[in-house]
């Protein structure tokens, strides 16, 4: 690990500004940790990790970055404070992200009695690392983009850095930046919240420990000594990534088949309200669709009867109601697509 030289002549200006940046990062980190702790995305996560970069690491990063950008300052280090939400399933990542955004939106203005205020405007960057094609049903990219569109955050999406072909890293990173008041002065502080699946986490930890992975420099610092002369093991690491991705996909499939649902805590008070259709008080659908073909009319009739059956099952709190609603939903969706296409035709 890179060591900071001892202060033979006392700390220089860079030392001082890195120390200050580290202190602010530590303070902000504590506040964000308290803010996140015990909330829905954390309770639903498989694991929640966090770390603050020590000042030596901030200094080392500044020096390294200055080789490319001489004006790089300690305040430009955005990952001095970092959190990681590890989701059990890949398909949980968009929901966890949505929960984080919702938390910032609804609770962020009241942290520590308003001492720190975070809003959606403080989300500076969102980066999606992904190794799947966007139209792949297991890709989370589309879902994440939908969430960002709904919250008007699409402009925060930054293009992910190109990844090596061997084994792509996949996760979502959110960078938050705000002002922190300290001794009457305002400091710009930042934190990075990463969301990834448990399989991604396991592979990343292994590759990290071997000094190989998405952040090679950081990884190398923590790596166990290895024989670097023979790097055939890297091929196996790539194979391991493919296996981990396969496991993630397979567990997503199992979760879907098993009817798994990302747990929603904190909103249990509405579960006592039975699902009842409110569009059909006058049961007027037959009049609205009286001109459609007889075949389509019968399918509509069947879809409505399936919906009514699902409602009846929900009234008696039958566990099969969700499956019945799913079936009815698919019937209506097919009719919707056909009706929309008819308009375009």
């Amino acid at each position: 690990m890179t060591q900071h030289p001892p202060f033979d002549d006392g700390p220089d200006d860079l030392d001082k500004s890195c120390m200050l940046a580290s202190r602010q990062a530590e303070r902000f980190h504590g506040i964000v940790k308290e803010f996140l702790y015990g909330t829905v995305p954390i309770k639903n996560a498989y694991a929640f990790k966090d770390r603050v970069k020590p000042f030596t690491d901030i200094r080392e990063k500044v020096l390294r970055k200055r080789k490319i950008r001489p004006s790089y300052e300690p305040a430009d280090v955005k990952d001095a404070s970092g959190f990681r939400i590890v989701c059990l399933f890949n398909c949980d990542i968009p929901r966890a992200l949505e929960d984080v955004i919702s938390l910032i939106k609804t609770e962020g203005k009241n942290i520590k009695g308003g001492m720190v205020r975070i809003g959606l405007e403080d989300i500076k960057e969102i980066e999606i690392h992904n190794n799947r094609r966007e139209n792949d049903p297991h890709s989370i990219v589309g879902k994440v983009k939908d969430i960002l569109d709904r919250e008007d955050l699409r402009s925060k999406l930054v293009k992910s850095k190109p990844q090596p072909d061997f084994s792509s890293y996949s996760s979502v990173h959110v960078i938050l930046e705000t002002n922190l008041l300290d001794s009457g002065r305002r400091f710009l502080v930042a934190t990075e919240i990463q969301l990834r699946s448990v399989f991604e986490e396991a592979w990343s930890e292994i590759s990290h420990r071997l000094g190989y992975g998405p952040d090679k420099r950081a990884a190398a610092e923590q790596a166990v000594p290895l024989d670097k002369s023979d790097e055939r093991w890297k091929i196996h690491l790539d194979a391991l990534k493919a296996l981990a991705d396969g496991c993630a996909q397979y567990s997503d499939n199992i979760a879907m088949e098993a009817g798994y649902s990302y747990k929603q805590e904190g909103i249990r008070k509405d579960k006592t309200l039975e699902p009842r259709s409110i569009d059909s008080d006058a049961d007027d659908w037959q009049a609205l669709f009286k001109d459609v073909s007889s075949e389509r009319f019968h399918r509509l009739k069947f879809a409505f009867s399936e919906r009514n059956r699902a409602e009846a099952l929900a009234q008696v709190k039958d566990g099969k109601a969700a499956a019945a609603f799913l079936n009815a939903g698919h019937l209506f969706e097919a009719l919707l697509r056909e009706t929309e296409a008819q308009g375009h035709g």
Partner: protein
């Protein structure tokens, strides 16, 4: 409006309604998209305001949920005919009550703000209770209204007599239900309803009944905690949601208070 668009909107709304209850979060997201499309086409499609408000409530976006549900309530109240939008109005009021209730719990509120939200919640839930189509709907709106009234009774002492009167009225209605007094798991009483009842009986009714309900709540939680706990009940308790922890601790408090008295 063009009939073709009306048909599309009706199908969007029906698809959204079914997907909302299909048990998949992805489908709830899809429902939200469909409902927003409906409203983009037709600002008078009242059920879409209600359903979207419901989804935003599930997503804990209480600000947007409130705006949507208030719109749904206003439009439905204006349009209600004898058989018209009664069900819609009741559902909107029920959800609006739940939204106000959640807004009352925001830790940034002053006590006065929390009380104001609780009053709005109680009023909306009492209205939903009055709008019930059948007695089967009483427990959901009635017990939620009583939770809010019990909280108001505890925290807003200047108007305690008024809350007592309103709470007692609803409680008297619920006590008419044939399953009232049977608290075991075979009855329709959910944990949340039982929680509301234990608080209401303790404030407005019979404390022995409050203790009987609390005993059932504790017994149900013990089953969960023993199943989850392994050897560490504290860890299992920490895994409960904040709501569940509150329900459990309230039940323990009521039981202990009553044991002390007796």
């Amino acid at each position: 409006m063009d009939k073709h668009i009306q048909q599309i909107n009706r199908l969007r709304a029906e698809t959204a309604f079914c997907f909302m209850h299909a048990g998949h979060d992805d489908l709830v997201i899809k429902s939200e998209q469909l409902l927003r499309q409906v409203l983009a086409d037709d600002q008078h499609y009242i059920p879409a305001f209600l359903r979207l408000g419901q989804v935003r409530f599930w997503r804990k976006d209480f600000t947007e949920a409130r705006a949507l549900l208030e719109t749904a309530q206003e439009k439905a109240a204006a349009a209600t005919t004898e058989n018209g939008n009664k069900r819609l109005l009741r559902t909107a009021r029920q959800y609006l009550g739940l939204v106000y209730w959640r807004m009352s719990e925001n830790p940034a509120n002053t006590e006065a703000e929390s009380i104001d939200y609780l009053r709005l919640a109680a009023e909306a839930l009492e209205q939903a209770f009055e709008d019930s189509e059948t007695e089967k709907q009483w427990p959901s709106s009635g017990s939620s209204a009583m939770y809010c009234l019990a909280e108001l009774h505890r925290r807003d002492s200047a108007r305690a007599a008024e809350y007592q009167r309103r709470g007692t009225t609803i409680l008297a209605n619920l006590q008419k239900l044939p399953e009232y007094g049977r608290w075991d798991r075979e009855t329709p009483w959910t944990m949340n309803w039982l929680d509301n009842l234990q608080r209401a009986e303790y404030r407005f009714g019979d404390r022995a009944t409050a203790k009987a309900v609390a005993d059932e709540v504790i017994s149900r939680f013990n089953r969960i905690l023993n199943r989850e706990a392994g050897i560490n009940r504290a860890a299992a308790f920490n895994k409960l949601s904040a709501d569940d922890q509150d329900i459990y601790l309230t039940a323990v408090d009521i039981r202990d208070q009553e044991n002390k008295v007796n």
